[in-house]
C-alpha cells in the first residue's frame, strides 16, 4: 500500500510539475518535480542542493545522476539516457572524478584545486578495499563530502572543515558495530578529543592544529608506517624531528620496529608534555625501556636535572624581578634580558630529543648565565628598595621629631613675654 501511494504521488508530481527552481540550471526540471512531491526522501536532496557549491557554480542534478533534465516527468530518468539514480560507492568515485580529475575542466572553476584526489583515493585503505575486495562499506567521496550539501573545505559548515574532520571520520571509525568486521580499535576519536591537538583547535581556535587527515592523509587515508611517524610529526615539530633523526634512538627504534614520537607521546591521545616525562617516576616515559640503573636512565635523570636547574633559576629570577617591579623599582632591562633565559629553556626542552647531554648543555648553559645575572640584579633591586624604605623611615622619624621640637619651641616663645 505505501508503495502504491508513493507511486501515485510520483505520477501526480510529474503531471503538475512547475518550471524552474533555485539551485539548478533553468533547463533542468528535476528539482521542480522533486520539491513538489511532498515526500521527504525526494524533496530533501533538492532542498539541500540549493546551498551546494556545485549548484552555485551552475551544475544540476544530471551532472552526477545522469538522465535528461530537460524532459519533464519520468522519461527524464531513462537509463538509456545515462540515468544512474543513486550511484553505487564505486560509481561515486567515478562520477566525482569525471570532473575533479580533469585538470583542464577544473581550471575553469578553481585553478589551484588539486586534481589527484581519485588517484590518491585508490592508494588509501578505503580505495584499495573498494577496488580489490569490492567492499562497499568503505568511505568514498560522498562519505566525507556530504552529498547535496557539499561546501568548500574552508567553509566552517563543511563536513571537512578542520574542526569537523574528526567527527566526520568518527562517524564510521567510532562506530563499534560498523567497524566490527575490520577488527581495528574504535577509540581513536575519544582519545583524540583528549589530546593537546584537539584542545588547541577547539579551545584556542588554532585551525593549524592537526586533525585526522593531517597525519593520515585525506583522500589517500592510511595509517603512517612505523618508520614514517617522525616524518609526519616533523611536518610541524621540525626541530624535534631533526634532533631525533640524528639521535641514537632513531636507528634503535627502527630495529625494534617501534615508531618515533608515538612511542613516548602516544598517537591519538597526545597530551601536553611535561619535564616529568624524563623522570624515572610514574610520569616518566624513559622507564618504559630503560631500567633505573642503566646508562639511558642516568642520562634521562641528568637531562631532567639540567632542565630543572634552568627552570627553577628562571622562576626565581622572574619572581625577584617581578617583586621589584611591583614595588616600583625600575627593572625593565633585566626583565627584558630574562626573556633570553626563557627562550633557552624552551630550546632546551626541544634539545632533549637529541638524547645527548652535550646538545642539551649548549642550550642550558647560556640560559643559566642569564639567570644568574638576572637573579643578582633582582636581589640588588630589592636591596635598594629596602635601603629606600629604611631611609624613608629615618626621614619620617626626623620629620616627626622636628614637628615635636617646633611645638616645644613655639610654647617656649609664647611663655617669654611674661
Amino acid at each position: 500500500m505505501p508503495r502504491l501511494i508513493f507511486g501515485l504521488l510520483l505520477i501526480l508530481g510529474f503531471w503538475t510539475y512547475p518550471r524552474g527552481a533555485d539551485g539548478q540550471p533553468q533547463s533542468e526540471t528535476c528539482a521542480a518535480c522533486h520539491l513538489a512531491m511532498g515526500v521527504e526522501k525526494l524533496t530533501k536532496p533538492a532542498e539541500l542542493y540549493k546551498a551546494d557549491i556545485h549548484a552555485a557554480k551552475g551544475f544540476g542534478c544530471v551532472a552526477c545522476h545522469g538522465g535528461d533534465g530537460t524532459i519533464g516527468g519520468m522519461e527524464a530518468m531513462d537509463r538509456k539516457k545515462g540515468y544512474i539514480g543513486k550511484p553505487t560507492p564505486a560509481q561515486v568515485v567515478e562520477v566525482c572524478g569525471r570532473c575533479h580529475s580533469d585538470a583542464n575542466f577544473m581550471r575553469q572553476y578553481n585553478p589551484s584545486l588539486r586534481v589527484d584526489q581519485v588517484a590518491e583515493y585508490y592508494t588509501s585503505v578505503h580505495g584499495r578495499r573498494l577496488r580489490e575486495q569490492k567492499d562497499e562499506k568503505v568511505a568514498t567521496c560522498a562519505s566525507c563530502h556530504k552529498p547535496h550539501s557539499i561546501r568548500p573545505a574552508n567553509d566552517a559548515r563543511s563536513t571537512v572543515y578542520p574542526t569537523r574532520v574528526a567527527d566526520t571520520c568518527g562517524a564510521c571509525h567510532a562506530n563499534k558495530e560498523y567497524m566490527a568486521p575490520y577488527k581495528i580499535p574504535t577509540d581513536q576519536l575519544e582519545k583524540y578529543k583528549k589530546s593537546v591537538h584537539w584542545q588547541m583547535m577547539t579551545t584556542k581556535g588554532d585551525l593549524s592544529a592537526p586533525t585526522c587527515n593531517d597525519c593520515h592523509g585525506n583522500h589517500g587515508a592510511a595509517p603512517p608506517g612505523v618508520s614514517s611517524v617522525v616524518n609526519v610529526c616533523g611536518q610541524c615539530h621540525v626541530v624535534n624531528a631533526e634532533l631525533f633523526n640524528k639521535s641514537v634512538h632513531s636507528k634503535i627504534f627502527v630495529q625494534m620496529g617501534i615508531p618515533g614520537c608515538a612511542t613516548c607521546h602516544s598517537n591519538h591521545e597526545i597530551r601536553e608534555t611535561s619535564d616529568a616525562m624524563l623522570s624515572m617516576g610514574d610520569k616518566g616515559v624513559c622507564a618504559t625501556c630503560h631500567t633505573p640503573t642503566s646508562t639511558g636512565a642516568t642520562l634521562a635523570v641528568s637531562m631532567l636535572a639540567s632542565i630543572d636547574r634552568l627552570k627553577s633559576g628562571y622562576e626565581k629570577a622572574y619572581m625577584l624581578l617581578n617583586n621589584a617591579e611591583h614595588s616600583g623599582m625600575e627593572v625593565s632591562q633585566p626583565l627584558f634580558e630574562l626573556n633570553e633565559a626563557k627562550t633557552a629553556l624552551i630550546k632546551a626542552r626541544a634539545a632533549i630529543h637529541g638524547f645527548d647531554k652535550s646538545i642539551l648543555d649548549k642550550e642550558v648553559e647560556p640560559g643559566l648565565k642569564v639567570v644568574e645575572k638576572s637573579q643578582a640584579r633582582g636581589v640588588k633591586a630589592l636591596e635598594e628598595l629596602q635601603f629606600r624604605r629604611k631611609g624613608l623611615a629615618v626621614s619620617a622619624v626626623i620629620i616627626f621629631a622636628l614637628v615635636v621640637g617646633l611645638i616645644f619651641k613655639i610654647r617656649q616663645m609664647e611663655r617669654k613675654p611674661k
Binding site: V239, S332, F336
Partner: protein, 153 residues
Amino acid sequence: MTNEETSIAVDNGRRKFLNWFLGTSAGAFLVSVTYPLSRYLIPPEVAESTAGTVTLSIKPNDVKANSGQIFRFGSQPAILVKDANGELKAFSAVCTHLGCIVQYRSDISQIWCACHNGHFDLNGRNVEGPPPKPLEQYVVNVRADQIVVNKRG
C-alpha cells in the same frame, strides 16, 4: 638658690637642648630632602621606557634593507625589520607558540623562531610551523631622524 633661679637654670638648659635639637633636626631634614632629590636628578643606570612608545637609539638610515634587529619595548623584546623595499616595520618579538624570542632571516625575508621553526611573514602572519597566531604589529614612525615605535590603539 631660690625656686625661681632653679627654674631659670632649667629653662636655660631646656632652651639649649631645644635649639640644638631643632638645629640638628633641620639639618637632618634638609639632608633627607636633598638626598632623594639628588638621586632623582641623576639619571639611573638604565633609561626607563614608557609602556606605549619607545624611541630607538638607531637612526633610520643605519638600518640595512632586508635586515632585522631586536629592541627593548618596556621589558619585552620587539623586532625592527626593514624590508627589501626599505619600509620599516616593528613587531613583538615574542613567538606566539611558546614565547621564545624570534629573529629576522634575511635568506628567506621572514621572521623566524629557532625554538620550533615557526615562520612569520613581514605582516607578522604565522605562515609556517607551530605558531598559532600572528605577531603583534607596532606602528613605526620616523620623526626628525629618529625611529619611534608605538603600540596600536
